[in-house]
Symmetry: C2
Subunit: 141 residues, 2 copies
DNA sequence: ATACCCCCTCAAGCCACTTGAGGTTCAAGC
DNA sequence: GCTTGAACCTCAAGTGGCTTGAGGGGGTAT
């Protein structure tokens, strides 16, 4: 199959596939006489796996590690589990940050609504709140 | 005061301040004879405001908008509130994504622990789960 | 032969900084 | 007055994970 079909089947885009090939995450595709890349069902499976890992938030380097684990009969399952566990910890940390952030922004909005809605912007409570900096420290998005 | 002091007082770094100046988020600093940037307390206030906005997750362009609102006597407070509300919606969306993600990854880990811990990596339940792609669609981090 | 879509490569752009190289300024101590 | 060393300067490139754009070739249906 050609690259556009692979992209559809794996739920991603053509440039992304070429990008993955370029950084060595997917092995170089076989080419037709005209230079066009040709893929098979195994490529669909691998690309889906990569996209699933990415959707789970694994960075590319960890996807690389996971990919190689899927082929390594000498590796232990605990390596995969440990990667997943570390991901889980990271996700939970981010979740806590984001919850605190949600609380803070909601407070920003509701204070403005109850004390100054419709007034002159320069006097808005949001600016006072932002200058007092009650925002949680967080890894900037 | 010099740039290093400003960085400390605003809880950020020297290169970040220069970067903000470069992109026009902070106005160009006055220079000493030797070329070194000099700041005053108003600069501390503005930089703190910028960092607070960033900590709240506002992208640079929105920080720019918020900064100009702080000075614009003809603007309405609702403009600031609307920006904050849109931010709140975005944060809540991300929060929902992250919660779903947490559930999925936790399932990944616990299935592995109960069915295959210590086995050969190639047979790990994590890979089966990832290939079945139960990950939520999400804006990739 | 023509139209048209899909494909190709290479390069640059995005966001918000961070890092590095290589050089200058300034305050303190001798 | 001289040396040291921290703090400063500029300019360029790197980070992650793609996306976008320019400019051209391949494949197939009419």
């Amino acid at each position: 199959m050609r690259i556009g079909i692979l992209a559809d089947r794996a739920g991603t885009t053509v440039p992304t596939i070429r990008y993955y090939e370029q950084i060595g995450l997917l092995r170089p595709a076989i080419r037709q006489s005209g230079g066009q890349r040709i893929y098979d069902n195994e490529d669909v499976r691998r690309l889906r796996f990569v996209r699933a890992c990415r959707a789970f938030g694994f960075p590319i380097d960890e996807v690389r590690a996971l990919l190689s684990l899927t082929d390594d009969r000498s590796a232990s399952c605990t390596e995969a589990r440990d990667l997943a566990e570390r991901r889980l910890v990271a996700v939970r940390r981010k979740l806590a940050e984001l919850k605190a952030l949600e609380t803070s922004i909601a407070a920003l909005v509701s204070t403005c609504n109850s004390t100054c809605a419709g007034g002159v912007a320069t006097d808005c409570s949001i600016f006072e709140d932002l200058e007092r900096r009650e925002a949680p420290n967080r890894s900037l998005v």
